[in-house]
């Protein structure tokens, strides 16, 4: 009886003290993980990569600038409501937030300037945050969805023998019916007007297990190219269905969240030749992987030790790259403000002044994995370049099959301007001056 009373009191006390005690000399980086739910197959590799890189920095370098990094994980299951709850729970002392979910990003965008914590939505989230004048607290470098759509169209044009050969072709988009999936539609519509191809879109309701009807429709409509903008279990179902209607895999391009190992492996050999866009290289042959193996896995510090053989997966590398951007921003903040213990505001300045050169990439072991990045006050999107990768089912590996393309700024910049100005009008945001 007394024990359960004590337990009840203890639970009450701990429930009241919801935020854990914060050690002053630590860099707090929250991780809104999704290792459960329909999107777990994509979440687990990403968050392993993210945690592994920050653990590597702690083990190899003693943290950033000598201050250890503390990752505070919180499970969101990719649900917007749990994402907001996790944000409120972990924001005490947080330096930078990576929601890794477009839905959660939208919910957090109005909170970032109020709580003074920058939001890094690398290659996802609200596309128009590229306009740094209206969104000073949100960043989406090195590339966003509209640039992705443009890069994919450029690759298609190249394969067809020139952008003018796209005229009259049919391009279909199969997308997850939420904010993330709808992102490329305005750009693809604008590009279809510019290049003269016919664009049609096929929504799939979350979580996307039922797609027979969609793909039967595609078999009837016979597009020349199909784009996939899915996430979680939807991807593998789409690829299996496409193989089922015998759609040529080398004309089927997923975006970078729809082209990872767990999306193509269920379809087996039939997924051979499936394409995907990318903004970093796949594979585990880079210097950073060797360091992670040595300092994290072999030292027993990995958050998921069973993942050792899966290092180098597309989403694992993405976690590494996102963690690298986070760490570089914190380091830049320390350098700009000449202090080791930085705050969210200083990290925001660090993000805006970020200039990761090729030399720096080589020094930190990311040479060849990702391209250099430069962020400015007005341009939070950075270089806005992407490449195309292809799945080799026999070797079981992804490989980059193109160089990095520039996105079509002529089409995308006006769209970004219009969308961000609508946000500014609806939410009474005054655009700031960018020197």
């Amino acid at each position: 009886m007394a024990l359960s009373k004590k337990l009840a009191a203890g639970i009450l006390v701990s429930a009241l003290a919801a935020a854990p005690a914060v050690n002053a000399a630590e860099l707090i980086v929250p991780a809104f993980e999704y290792r459960t739910g329909a999107y777990a197959p994509n979440g687990i590799p990403f968050w392993n990569g993210f945690s592994d890189y920050l653990t590597l920095l702690n083990e190899r370098d003693g943290g950033i600038g000598g201050v250890k990094i503390k990752i505070t994980p919180c499970e969101t299951s990719y649900d917007n409501k749990l994402g907001v709850e996790c944000y409120e729970k972990t924001k005490q002392g947080a330096l930078i937030v990576n929601p890794v979910s477009t839905g959660i990003s939208y919910a957090l965008i109005p909170k970032a300037p109020v709580d003074k914590i920058p939001l890094l939505t690398s290659a996802y989230g609200r596309t128009s945050v590229a306009n740094g004048r209206i969104f000073p607290w949100v960043f989406n470098f090195p590339v966003n969805y509209w640039s992705a759509a443009s890069v994919i169209v450029k690759y298609m044009g190249e394969k067809e023998g020139g952008m003018d050969k796209l005229k009259g072709k049919k391009i279909a988009l199969v997308y997850l019916n939420n904010a993330y999936g709808k992102e490329p539609i305005p750009t693809l519509t604008a590009l279809s007007k510019k290049h003269g191809f016919e664009f049609s879109s096929y929504p799939v309701d979350a979580p996307g297990n039922e797609q027979k009807a969609t793909w039967l429709q595609i078999r009837r409509d016979r597009p020349d190219w199909v784009l996939l903008w899915g996430y979680g279990v939807m991807n593998q179902v789409s690829i299996k269905e496409a193989a089922g209607i015998r759609f040529p895999m080398d004309h089927f391009i997923g975006n970078w969240w729809s082209s990872s190992e767990n999306d193509v492996k269920p379809a087996g050999a039939e997924a051979n030749g499936y394409l995907g866009s990318a903004f970093h290289a796949p594979g585990a042959g880079f210097q950073v992987h060797k360091d992670v193996l040595k300092y994290v896995y072999d030292a027993g510090k990995a958050v998921d030790p069973s993942f050792k053989d899966r290092m180098g997966e597309v989403l694992y590398n993405r976690g590494l790259v996102t963690a690298m951007y986070t760490a570089e921003a914190i380091a830049k903040a320390q350098e700009l403000h000449k202090t080791k213990e930085v705050t969210g505001e200083m990290v925001r300045d660090g993000l805006e002044a970020l200039d990761i050169t090729a030399g720096r990439l080589k020094a930190i072991g990311f040479d060849g994995l990702v391209e250099p990045v430069k962020v400015t006050c007005a341009n939070h999107e950075g270089p806005a370049r992407g490449a195309i990768q292809q799945w080799d089912a026999t070797a079981g590996k992804w490989k980059l099959v193109s160089g990095y393309y520039d996105s079509d700024r002529e089409v995308i910049d006006p769209l970004i301007k219009a969308d961000s100005e609508q946000y500014a009008k609806e939410n009474n945001v005054t655009p700031r001056d960018c020197k």
Binding site: R35, P110, N427
Partner: protein
């Protein structure tokens, strides 16, 4: 000993017909209200506000709405998610079209729009009953979510299809948007819920409420004694959808500020609110609150206890939480099929007699 009913004599008809005739009950309810209004705001951190208080109040409102329909009138409905969406999107359209309109009127207008929608989807209830009606209300769920996704007018032609609540103030304090005053937002939501709980409690004592309960108990007998099913059932749908619409506006405006229809108002929301009503207790206002507390606050408490207190990895804690919630739901329904409100009622009856056994 707790209930000293001797000497509590009623000297007027009004006091005889009070909702809470016993002084001890009144004291309890006023104490809870006093704590909610005067004590809680001082302990309200951002986390407590947006993860505990506002979700609880919004879901309590939705549960009250569904309780009116399913508990008082006996019409099973699985369209709650759709009506929540209708409330959220009508609130969005109204406040962006009339930015100067007071937020109270925006919410009430959103409730009215949802009531009209609910009225339309309530028409099948005149011909079908029970589980078949539940399937017909699924049409509301899927149609409304499809409509707001498909027709760009509802999202003000936004490219991504997500709507964002602009900042609005009440009496000078900002309650929606980014830079909110937490206490103001909480008190605003609490006042809405308290007022509408009182209205819901009074409904069971009106002609309309009694007509609903007659329809629930035996609709053919009700029709025979002169209660018109059309007015009763459609008014139940209208009032219920009014409550659910306001709950949807609260979810969108106060809690999430940015919603996408498929994840925030999907079929899972309909089931969640239905479970709240069933586990809380059909046909009682207290049941709505208890059910909302059980299904909103208990998972949160479990995750806080497992992750912060026992230090379990968050993803494992999530699996454990889902498992535990399922077991608790089964346990409570076996222990007391009439819900948590019945447990309170039984406890209260025992307290009235304590320490005597009868």
């Amino acid at each position: 000993m707790f209930y000293r009913e001797a000497g509590q004599l009623k000297t007027s008809y009004a006091s005889d017909m009070a909702i809470l005739p016993l002084r001890e009950d009144r004291t309890l309810v006023f104490a809870i209200l006093a704590i909610a209004y005067l004590v809680v705001p001082f302990f309200l951190t951002d986390f407590w506000l947006s993860a505990v208080a506002i979700p609880f109040l919004a879901y309590a409102m939705a549960a009250m709405g569904l309780n009116i329909l399913t508990g008082y009138c006996g019409q099973l409905s699985l369209g709650t998610g759709g009506f929540l969406a209708a409330g959220a999107y009508s609130a969005y359209k109204i406040t962006t079209a009339f930015p100067e309109l007071n937020l109270v009127f925006v919410f009430l207008a959103a409730g009215l729009c949802t009531a009209i929608v609910g009225l339309a989807f309530g028409i099948p209830s005149l011909r079908i009953k029970g589980f078949y009606l539940a399937v017909a209300t699924l049409a509301a769920q899927f149609f409304i979510v499809w409509l707001v996704t498909r027709v760009p007018w509802f999202t003000n032609y936004n490219a991504s299809g997500q709507i964002q609540m602009p900042g609005r103030t009440i009496l000078g304090y900002q309650v929606t948007g980014g830079a909110i005053s937490g206490t103001a937002q909480y008190l605003f939501a609490l006042t809405f819920v308290a007022v509408f709980a009182l209205i819901a409690k009074n409904f069971s004592r009106t002609n309309t409420g009694r007509a609903w309960m007659a329809i629930r108990d035996m609709d053919i007998a009700a029709e025979l004694i002169g209660i018109r099913p059309l007015y009763a059932k459609l008014s139940a749908f209208a009032v219920s959808s009014f409550y659910i619409g306001i709950a949807g506006a609260m979810m969108f405006g106060l809690w999430l500020s940015s919603v996408e229809p498929s994840s925030s108002f999907g079929i899972n929301q309909s089931f969640l609110v239905l479970f709240m009503v069933i586990i809380g207790g059909l046909g009682t206002v207290l049941g709505s609150f208890l059910g909302a507390g059980f299904l909103v606050l208990l998972p949160l408490l479990l995750s806080v206890v497992l992750v912060d207190w026992f230090g379990i990895v968050p993803s494992q804690a999530k699996h454990a939480e889902i498992l535990t919630m399922g077991i608790l739901i089964v346990f409570f329904l076996i222990a007391e099929p009439h819900g948590l409100a019945k447990i309170w009622q039984t406890t209260r009856e025992k307290l009235r007699l304590w320490p005597f056994p009868y």
